[in-house]
């Protein structure tokens, strides 16, 4: 994937660029808003990681608005030290696709950027999701694995749906809280772990090959092959 990082802090930018390259992505970096806008407008990227506060006269929001005004729909993830709810809402309203507050864990950033690009590709309505021998029918809201029907509670169904839509990608606990429960804060209790382990009991326990994997220091991943 081709990713543009617009971030003025050298250390943060270096860390992000290095991490993304290690994860196998092609990365361009701009350290001010003007260069960032030029790159974003003139080349094709799969995703843009954009700092809110940038030097060079054009800040993140302006850059974003200019891009969207040019009908450029590249997914944008805001990276910002402005973490108040209002700031988040403002960023998303301006056309951002996701918002991550500094400081952040790289695993969280990576998972979210990869989820963004996936979201961009699946625009058509899907009726069926498949991971390995696990199948989900979104119309009849039923789940099967192999020839066995799996009974899920409504919330478990949504949790599995989210994981299947992001199959092969790391999904963090925060992403699950936001995406499945619509909670925008982190409870102190490990609620997500418990729900994921209950889901695992139902979809993995009776079968030989585990599909739902725990990724250390990051989150979870649903995929057919071994991690």
């Amino acid at each position: 994937m081709r990713i543009l990082v617009v971030e003025d802090d050298k250390d943060v930018a270096g860390f992000v660029v290095k991490g993304l390259r290690e994860a196998g992505h092609t990365v361009e970096h701009a350290d001010n808003g003007r260069d960032g806008l030029f790159l974003a407008a003139s080349e094709n990227f799969d995703a843009i990681i954009l700092d809110r506060m940038l030097p060079g006269g054009i800040d993140g929001l302006r850059l974003m608005e200019t891009l969207r005004a040019q009908d450029n729909a590249t997914p944008v993830l805001f990276l910002s030290a402005l973490g108040q709810v209002d700031d988040r809402v403002k960023g998303l309203k301006a056309g951002g696709d996701d918002y991550l507050t500094k400081p952040f864990a790289f695993a969280e950033l990576l998972a979210r950027v990869e989820a963004l690009t996936r979201r961009g590709k699946t625009d058509g309505p899907m009726t069926r999701l498949t991971v390995g021998d696990l199948e989900m029918d979104l119309l009849s809201r039923s789940v099967r694995r192999g020839d066995q029907k799996i009974e899920l509670q409504p919330r478990e169904f949504r949790l599995l749906e989210y994981l299947m839509r992001h199959a092969g990608q790391v999904v963090t606990r925060t992403m699950l809280l936001e995406g499945v429960w619509d909670y925008h804060f982190d409870p102190q209790t490990n609620v997500i772990d418990v729900h994921v382990s209950r889901l695992r009991q139902k979809i993995d326990k009776p079968f030989e090959l585990p599909l739902l994997h725990t990724v250390r220091n990051a989150g979870y991943m649903l995929r057919a092959e071994e991690v």
């Binding site: 108040q84 909670y183 609620v191 418990v194």
Partner: protein
């Protein structure tokens, strides 16, 4: 901080009145001038209407009297029955009336010879018939001023009928002089009134400005005095409320900075020590890795504390009120029950939820979620296997009451009041994980919704009750 500085750099919202009004900078003077103007204009209007109604009325009355007299006398002269002698007789009769009505008559025949009347000669200047004249005349030998009208009679005779208006001219003069003096008096009264108004205004504002100046210099304990007048009291109450809020916020800031200084030092010290220890003593790559990971965890913990602090500050600042909407909490609370039930069961606890619809409030769903989540986090943290946690909610007397009760160690009565302070941790809780910010946030959320957080003894355990005013 950076953003705050940018905000305050914006031009202050000064409203300028247009034109010369701006020349009078003092509001007191403006009120005074306005008062004087109003007073002057209304006095002038009064004087003008008095003048015209009095003088006009007199004039009209005189004209009517002359006119009817004239008609009556003219009729007497008309042929076939009438003749000059009858007119002369009628004039003589009129002039014989003992009371002097100021009547003026002159009848001359075709040869211009005086037949009857009390004028000595035809007045100079009276040339046209049937027109009003005001002329000096000599009546019975005395000079006077009269309103006159001449009429042609048959056979070239002419008749003058008039009224002496010397008295009216006197009335006119008296009235004019009176009005001039009244004018002076009114100007005087207007000026005095303006001065009085200005000084009253200044006195009212003086208390407010003295107090405000003291407050601006940093004495936040001062409050504006009441009892100056209803409108000023209203202003004073608003300003006082604002000051209360400012001082509460400043206390909050002070408290938070103190707390940060004391309580964040500990985890920072821990992380620093771990890193330094690893740098000096780590023998293998694994040791180093482990130390770094622990340090990252410590830092994440610190970030978590910062986020909680900022969140509380954001809530207390009240800016979230802009996003308030009418919502019902029933489904929200069932969702929380579902989210936490799994964890409770995992830990061998029993979560009992009794949620009675409807639960309508005007507020922020996300904040209420977080508040209830914090209470449930606490309840889970302090419960041991086999215990029951109760989550209940109902609408009673226009108050939505959300209760989270556990059977854990609870909070000692002495600590209960301080439990909602930032970073406060009861003795029993010192050994458990946590930042001491959970209840502070719950309390802040409740207060933002004009509600309360109360803590009771659950015998044993803690019973936390959030009361939010219902929107209905």
């Amino acid at each position: 901080m950076k953003r705050m500085a940018a905000d305050s750099a914006a031009p202050p919202g000064v409203i300028h009145a247009p034109g010369s009004w701006r020349l009078i900078r003092s509001a007191g003077r403006r009120f005074a001038v306005l008062y004087a103007l109003m007073f002057g204009v209304s006095s002038c209007l009064l004087a003008v209407s008095l003048w015209y109604s009095t003088i006009g009325l007199v004039q009209r009355q005189v004209e009517n009297a002359i006119h009817s007299d004239d008609l009556a006398l003219t009729a007497l002269a008309q042929p076939p029955d009438g003749n000059l002698a009858e007119v002369a007789e009628a004039i003589a009769t009129r002039l014989m009336t003992p009371a002097d009505t100021g009547g003026i008559y002159l009848l001359v025949d075709g040869a211009n010879k005086r037949v009857a009347g009390n004028l000595d000669s035809w007045p100079q200047g009276l040339t046209q018939m049937n027109v009003w004249y005001q002329l000096p005349v000599t009546r019975n030998g005395a000079a006077s001023v009269a309103l006159l009208r001449a009429e042609a009679l048959p056979d070239g005779a002419r008749l003058i009928v008039g009224r002496d208006v010397r008295v009216r001219a006197q009335l006119w003069r008296v009235l004019r002089n009176g009005l001039i003096w009244t004018g002076f008096l009114m100007v005087g009264l207007g000026v005095v009134g303006a001065i009085v108004i200005r000084s009253i205004f200044r006195r009212m504002v003086r208390d407010i400005s003295i107090t405000s100046r003291a407050i601006a210099k940093g004495d936040l304990s001062r409050r504006l005095p009441l009892g100056v007048g209803e409108e000023f009291d209203e202003l004073a109450v608003i300003i006082n409320d604002m000051l209360d809020r400012i001082s509460r916020l400043m206390d909050g800031v002070r408290q938070v900075s103190n707390a940060i200084a004391h309580d964040l030092r500990t985890p920072v010290t821990r992380a620093r020590a771990r890193l330094e220890d690893a740098a000096l003593h780590a023998e293998s790559k694994e040791d180093m890795q482990a130390a770094i990971e622990r340090a990252i965890q410590d830092l994440d913990g610190i970030v978590g504390v910062f986020e909680a602090l900022l969140r509380i500050a954001e809530i207390e600042a009240g800016s979230r009120r802009a996003a308030f909407a009418p919502i019902d909490l029933t489904q929200t609370l069932w969702d929380m029950d579902e989210l936490y039930r799994a964890v409770a069961e995992e830990r061998g606890l029993h979560l009992r939820a009794v949620i009675n619809a409807p639960l309508p409030i005007f507020g922020d769903r996300e904040l209420v979620q977080q508040a209830v989540a914090n209470l449930l986090d606490n309840a889970l943290k302090f419960s041991t296997p086999g215990m029951t946690i109760d989550l209940s909610a109902r609408l009673e007397d226009d108050v939505v009451q959300i209760v989270v009760a556990d059977r854990g160690p609870g909070i000692a009565p002495a600590d209960r009041r301080r439990a909602t302070e930032r970073f406060f941790r009861a003795e029993a809780a010192r050994s458990t994980a946590g930042s001491g910010l959970g209840l502070a946030l719950v309390s802040a959320v409740a207060q933002l919704h004009n509600g309360t957080l109360q803590l009771f003894d659950n015998n044993p355990g803690l019973r936390a009750v959030i009361c939010l005013p219902s929107r209905e």
